[in-house]
């Protein structure tokens, strides 16, 4: 396997190395990825999960042939390669409502649906050839974030925090925000769960409006009173702990109370963007606009989180499920997400955080190039769809993989969700093949059976 992608030298970078060592000392049965001479790049990840499935042929995978075949059946030369998956309609090819144009120096084409993102194409590495077999939202979401449709393996966020440990002991290291969870697209808990990894690597779901729960003192409790409470608690716990078996666990709980105090300071500070962020920054994300507000707050918080060392931020924006009238659906979704995400890219860049922050934009699948029924929408299609990565050492302005003339099935460089998970870890300087956890006698890795890092994402 190529070793040209960046790897972190664990024990050289003091802050991160130490916390990783702490992780290593707590856990048994695990092997951590080790060293390489190259400079580490990404320290944090922001995963922009577009729930419902954005259409590849309307965003990042232009297909002029759709016009040629408009209204016709999918030609046999393409149809025969489509796996036998329900929902893969073969009738009535539907052209995109949006024109594609090349952007930036790289000339990466983006549709007119996403004008703000288009300005950043030179930062994006677009992968047009992601595929898997599951055409259903719930299991598809699990595939996207855990690699398997039953969601029983660790989420990529859990693997990442397991590998790197905490970057800020005063905040949870993996936080998930779910915005626009409307319709029936309920978030899948597996997306921030740990599978067989220890529960401490689980993501915490945060409401962007209210922040981390219970970080405010209860009504009527003043700070001084809390100090008295904690003092008494310390006295009682100390008494209880002495000479007891299972001292480590008891000690860990005592320590968790020391952390509550710090978290009660750090969390409100993190969520207090309203008075601390400049008007220009707020405008950049589109905070003031009704359409963009929710995603904008999540993205701005995402930046504030990575700034403070939160390892993995997951922002789930629901609503992309365009079965009927894709024009209005995707227009709405773009208006919710395009500007805030572009704002996040700009903001990270101007603060010098883009190099140390990996951004991933992906849905659970793409959509059919055909019309579903007569509703002017597209059905689910996991046969070949587009995602992008940016920042964190990723080679921008690049396009990887290819689909057929209609954008239906991958024809070149198939990429599985396990592959892009491996690539996320690689960007964090972790060798996914050597990141393992012993579960039921097997050394489980994030690669599962055959995932592999996509080296082209990094090579210059």
């Amino acid at each position: 396997m190529s070793t040209k992608y960046p790897r972190r030298q664990f024990f050289r970078n003091s802050g991160i190395g130490l916390s990783s060592m702490a992780v290593a000392s707590i856990l048994s049965g695990q092997k951590l990825a080790t060293t390489n001479d190259q400079e580490s790049v990404a320290r944090n990840v922001i995963f922009l999960y577009m729930s419902g499935g954005p259409s590849q042929v309307d965003t990042f995978d232009p297909k002029p042939a759709l016009k040629k075949y408009a209204g016709q059946d999918v030609p046999e030369s393409i149809a025969r390669n489509i796996p036998p998956i329900k929902r893969s309609g073969l009738k009535n090819v539907m052209p995109s409502h949006w024109e594609f144009k090349q952007h930036g120096e790289s000339g990466t084409p983006v549709s007119a649906l996403l004008p703000h993102t288009a300005r950043h194409v030179d930062e994006l590495c677009v992968i047009r050839s992601v595929q898997h077999r599951n055409p259903v939202h719930g299991p598809g979401e699990c595939v996207c974030l855990t690699g398997v449709s039953n969601g029983e393996r660790p989420s990529i966020g859990a693997w990442s925090t397991f590998a790197l440990g905490s970057g800020n002991e005063n905040l949870p290291s993996f936080m998930a925000m779910n915005v626009h969870s409307d319709g029936m697209q309920y978030p899948q808990r597996a997306g921030w769960s740990t599978g067989f990894l220890p529960a401490k690597f689980q993501g915490i779901v945060i409401n962007p409006k209210t922040g981390i729960q219970h970080t405010q003192l209860p009504k009527g409790t003043i700070k001084q009173r809390r100090e008295q409470q904690l003092q008494l608690l310390e006295f009682l716990n100390e008494q209880h702990r002495t000479a007891k078996l299972n001292e480590d666990a008891l000690q860990a709980r005592i320590k968790s109370y020391e952390m509550t105090g710090r978290m009660q300071v750090a969390a409100p500070e993190l969520f207090n963007w309203e008075t601390t962020e400049s008007a220009a920054t707020k405008t950049l994300y589109g905070i003031a606009e009704e359409n963009t507000h929710d995603t904008a707050v999540a993205c701005l918080l995402g930046r504030r989180m990575v700034e403070r060392g939160v390892r993995f931020v997951q922002i789930r924006v629901g609503g992309w499920d365009a079965h009927g009238n894709i024009k209005s659906n995707h227009t709405r979704q773009a208006s919710r997400t395009d500007k805030p995400i572009a704002g996040l890219l700009t903001d990270l860049k101007q603060r010098g955080l883009l190099d140390s922050t990996l951004l991933v934009w992906a849905g659970e699948f793409g959509r059919t190039p055909t019309m579903e029924g007569k509703a002017n929408g597209r059905d689910h299609s996991p046969n070949g769809y587009s995602i992008w990565l940016a920042g964190g050492g990723v080679q921008g302005g690049r396009i990887i993989g290819q689909t057929d003339d209609l954008g239906y099935v991958v024809t070149e460089r198939p990429v599985s969700p396990f592959d892009y998970h491996a690539t996320i870890l690689a960007a964090l300087g972790v060798d996914p093949a050597r990141l393992s956890y012993n579960h039921l006698g097997r050394d489980e890795t994030p690669l599962f059976n055959d995932g592999a890092v996509i080296p082209e994402v990094f090579n210059s």
């Binding site: 939202h137 979401e141 899948q188 209880h240 007569k374």
Partner: protein, 991 residues
């Protein structure tokens, strides 16, 4: 009904029309071929009533030909009859009412009797002069049903059959039902069989009056129906012919395994890959070859990739490569289905010397421990086994803990709740030396309490991955799933023998259709599945995998899921074993099953519901099709209910309401039962499971290559993994599986269960890997002890309580938690159980204990779940348990996601938990409650302190603590103290 009929009746009389229509659903009858014959003024109207008046003489005012004639083995005939009450005469002189529907092979005329050994169904007077419904062949061959009641429409149903089938054989049997419920199929009101029957085909039928039928009598008949089956009479589509999945392709076989393939294997491969060999891979074993190939698809077969490879992965690694011709032969063999000769290369029987797969022997109880032990350290046989182990390590177990500590410990591990101050007082009134004996009794009391069932049920619900929603993104609620939760609670509370408990859960519906048994199948039906999957094969396969994996982990402690894709890497379980095991469940699926008390009205409501649903579905489908929508056209249930037309809409929502109100359970139904013995109510979602039981019939199970439902290997039938002793399967596969699992010879079941009982008390099992008794699990440090408990369980009729008592009365359970330095040095992980290891309470225990100490806990038993957002103070086990959306406290305190069997909960520690316990409304309100109650009861501050400790920590305040707490209360409140106490490690742990 009566008024309506009366109106219509007078109307018909007024216009002088008599109309009768007949519906006929006999088999093999092309629609429209049936003719009404010479009914007077026959019409194609759907009017179904006909009024006959008497003439004080025997006559047939109305008759009809049946074309073509009926000669099949049996059929049903049904009509409704209403007799005016005022015209039912009290019979005297043996003379009474007479009215019949006759069936005959001749027409006769108006005055023909039609009672010459041919079927009659109607009313007549019995020998006690009562007018009753009856069936007869002739005047001296008749049987009576219930008494005739006037002024009400009564449905008469008769089954007419031949005891000897054949077109020439006569109809010689009659059965009668009067106003039958759908469920009464096997319970007729009267039965009759004669010797000298005459009529072998029915060509005519008619209604006849008798000599007693007065001129003013108005007999209303109608709704005449003929049907081949009981189901048809009720408008229920009977199970149709089994629909097997499309057969595997049958290619022309051009390559012979024996003549073409084997020589190539011998030439290139067998040198390394035949028989037991160093590579660990055998090419002479079908199951292992299947791991490397995909039948019918050489292109995706690893084996082909390896023999084609040009890099260092090529096979064979050294020597001559396979020729292009040879590779083509192997590829063709795979593409033609990979035929195998089992006689030439039989599948070897898997064997293992792994400890957990060996029979459970009764270990000899150590009689004397060499060197002697203090008697006090042996309370039950458990201690004798541990003493032997401790002796080898030169460890002395810790002394007994004090009564107060133990009181809290037994309450928590048995019931999940702390002891009340009152119980604590009882203990404290006794002299110390009597404490242990008193605890022995307290343990028995607790094990027989409802609270024990509620606490231990929670462990089992984790094991059964039980939840009240479908899971995946729509995550539909399963409103009836709570009954299984109560079943589990009651099973523990009543100390149901473990073998019976297991059998009911695996095969309840095969045992009986009693509610308890049906509810028990909630174990199988707890499976998660996506309600948004159009691919029924995938949807079903997900359920079957879930049930298979759960059964293996929950009951056998095996991680079979690995073998779903490939023969198990570590355990002797092959991919074939996996799918044979899965085949036990293949003919069933989850559903909302109607309980006994509603089984008479349920089917009719459900059938009517589906009838409306189906015709609307058809209509919408046709409209979409007519609008030019391309196939496949899917019409979702929500579209159907939105598109109901006017009349249907009201009726449909009424039906929905009535069906919702039926008592039901979320259970498992299969081909073992039918819609009458076990009706299933709709459970709608975007793309529901296939509705018809017929979809479940004889559904073959295939070995799935790499677990992919689209890559079918050979067909398999239900069977026990070949490693273990085998058992005949018979007609009830799941019963056979349950019998095998609960057989006293099963090496795993009892070991796995006693280990979990141990774990429930100690926090860890004798086998630490409670979910994996396979070769990758942790072997028990004291197998004799484990086997002793397992043997005790089996030989005491699987009495779970017996095992609890052996454990709870042991010294091992009752010792202190002191980390004795000498022992700790020798055995820091406490493998020899020389000390009690404090462990964190489960999420539910934390919440319930807090509510208990504040006096707010509502101990109501059972019933539908409480919404988690309401401020319910019921025990946590009664709060809604949906997948994906746990309560906040469950989310942060490691409650499993119910997506797969969980036999051991992780115990993470995080500041998020501490923030919750310090700052949440819940903990602060409960602390306030507790404080208020104490203050109301006691004015003295010192007593308040004392009581707070008693209530929350279940102990007295110590002398060291008193001054510290007193100082604290100078600045803070009693509520603050209560909050601190529920945050303390002592409270959160089982000490």
């Amino acid at each position: 009904m009566f008024d309506k009929h009366a109106t219509r009746l007078s109307l018909m009389l007024a216009i002088g029309m008599i109309i009768l229509s007949i519906s006929r659903t006999l088999e093999a009858q092309p629609p429209g071929s049936f003719q009404l014959g010479n009914w007077k003024q026959a019409s194609d109207s759907v009017q179904a009533l006909f009024v006959i008046k008497g003439n004080l003489t025997r006559e047939t005012p109305i008759r009809s030909a049946i074309t073509p004639a009926i000669a099949q083995e049996s059929f049903y005939v049904s009509y409704t009859l209403m007799y005016p009450a005022k015209h039912i005469d009290t019979a005297d002189n043996g003379s009474g009412e007479f009215f019949i529907l006759w069936l005959d092979d001749t027409e006769g005329n108006v005055s023909s009797a039609h009672s010459n050994q041919n079927p009659n169904i109607g009313i007549h007077v019995d020998k006690n002069s009562k007018n009753r419904f009856m069936i007869r062949f002739s005047s001296n061959r008749q049987e009576f049903g219930p008494e005739l009641k006037g002024d009400r429409e009564t449905q008469l149903v008769a089954k007419v059959s031949k005891s000897n089938p054949g077109p020439e054989q006569p109809y010689d049997q009659l059965e009668l039902w009067v106003d039958p419920a759908l469920i009464a199929r096997d319970k007729p009101n009267a039965k009759l069989k004669i010797e000298n029957a005459r009529v072998s085909s029915i060509r005519w039928l008619g209604f006849s009056t008798g000599g007693k039928t007065e001129t003013e009598d108005r007999i209303t008949v109608g709704n005449l129906k003929l049907a081949s089956s009981w189901e048809e009479l009720f408008g229920i589509v009977p199970p149709v012919t089994p629909q097997a999945p499309p057969p595997l392709p049958k290619p022309v076989v051009t390559v012979s395994f024996e003549d073409d393939v084997v020589p190539i294997l011998q030439r290139h491969c067998f040198k390394c890959h035949q028989g037991k060999n160093e590579t660990g891979f055998r090419l002479d074993v079908a199951d292992q070859v299947l791991n490397q190939t995909t039948p019918f698809s050489s292109g995706t077969s690893h084996l082909i990739h390896r023999i084609q490879a040009t890099d260092d992965s090529r096979m064979p690694p050294k020597g001559e490569r396979l020729s292009t011709q040879e590779i083509t032969t192997i590829s063709t063999w795979i593409d033609e289905g990979m035929r195998w000769n089992e006689e030439l290369f039989p599948t070897p029987t898997l064997t293992s010397d792994h400890w957990a797969f060996q029979p459970i022997q009764q270990p000899e109880v150590p009689k004397q421990i060499p060197g002697g032990k203090p008697v006090s350290s042996q309370r039950t046989v458990v201690d004798a086994f541990l003493a032997r182990q401790q002796k080898t390590l030169d460890i002395i177990p810790n002394p007994l803990a004090d009564g107060t500590t133990l009181l809290r410990r037994i309450h928590l591990t048995i019931t999940g709740l702390p002891p009340t101050p009152e119980i604590l007082q009882q203990l404290h009134h006794l002299p110390t030396e009597k404490h242990q004996a008193w605890l022995d009794k307290e343990i028995v009391r607790l094990l027989n309490s409802q609270q024990y069932g509620e606490h231990w049920a929670r462990y089992w619900l984790d094991i059964a991955r039980w939840a009240e929603s479908n899971g995946h993104q729509h995550n539909r609620f399963r409103p009836d799933a709570w009954r299984y939760r109560d079943y589990v609670i009651d099973s523990f509370s009543s100390n149901k023998p473990y073998d019976q408990f297991v059998k009911e859960q695996l095969a309840g519906d095969e045992l009986s259709t009693e509610d308890e048994h049906i509810i028990a199948t909630g174990f199988l039906s707890a499976a998660r599945y996506s309600g948004n999957d159009l691919d029924k094969q995938i949807q079903r396969n997900d359920i079957l995998n879930d049930v298979t994996n759960t059964t293996a982990t929950a009951l056998l402690g095996l991680t079979m899921e690995c073998a779903q894709c490939h023969t198990h890497k570590f355990d002797p379980i092959s991919i074939r074993d996996y799918y044979r095991f899965q085949a036990f469940f293949a003919e069933g699926q989850p559903g909302s099953v109607v309980l006994a008390e509603a089984r008479d009205q349920g089917p009719a409501l459900i059938t009517e519901y589906w009838n409306i649903y189906d015709r609307t579905h058809q209509r919408v489908y046709r409209e979409l099709k007519a609008n030019g929508n391309p196939e496949p056209i899917y019409v979702a249930p929500e579209t159907v209910s939105r598109r109901l037309n006017g009349a249907d809409k009201a009726r449909f929502s009424q039906l929905e309401k009535e069906i919702r109100a039926l008592p039901k359970t979320w259970g498992w139904y299969s081909t073992q039962t039918d819609y009458l013995s076990l009706p299933v109510a709709p459970h709608l979602m975007r793309w529901p499971l296939e509705r018809e039981r017929s979809a479940l019939y004889q559904r073959p199970t295939y070995l799935l290559i790499r677990g992919d439902v689209k890559s079918r290997g050979p067909q398999v039938s239900p069977g026990i993994p070949s490693l273990f002793f085998q058992t005949p399967i018979g007609q009830k596969p799941r019963t056979a599986l349950a019998e095998w699992i609960t057989s006293r010879f099963n090496p795993l079941t009892a070991r796995v269960w006693v280990n979990r009982i141990w774990q429930g008390h100690f926090g860890e099992g004798l086998v630490r890997s409670a979910g994996d008794f396979g070769t990758q699990g942790t072997p028990p440090a004291n197998q004799d002890l484990l086997d002793y408990l397992a043997y005790e369980l089996i030989s005491n009729n699987w009495n779970t309580q017996h095992i609890h008592l052996l454990i709870l009365n042991s010294h091992a359970y009752r010792q202190t938690a002191i980390q004795t330095p000498s022992s700790y040095k020798l055995d820091p992980d406490n493998h020899a159980w020389w000390a009690w290891k404090p462990h964190r309470m489960k999420s539910e225990m934390i919440r319930d204990s807090i509510l208990s100490t504040s006096g707010q806990l509502d101990l109501t038993h059972g019933g539908p779940s409480q919404n988690i957002t309401d401020a319910s103070t019921r025990r946590s086990v009664y709060l809604e348990h949906r997948r994906n959306t746990p309560s906040y406290v469950n989310e942060i305190f490691d409650v499993p996601d119910a997506n797969h069997s969980c036999v051991y909960r992780s115990q993470a520690v995080s500041p998020i938990q501490s923030l919750y316990l310090l700052n949440s409304d819940f903990t602060n309100q409960q602390a306030a409650h507790t404080a208020r109650q104490i203050q109301q009861e006691f004015a003295d501050l010192e007593i308040q302190m004392e009581v707070a400790f008693m209530r929350i920590l279940a102990r007295r305040i110590s002398l060291e603590e008193q001054p510290v707490i007193a100082r604290f209360l100078e600045k803070a409140t009693l509520q603050d103290l209560c909050l601190v106490l529920i945050n303390s490690n002592e409270f959160i742990h089982v000490n």
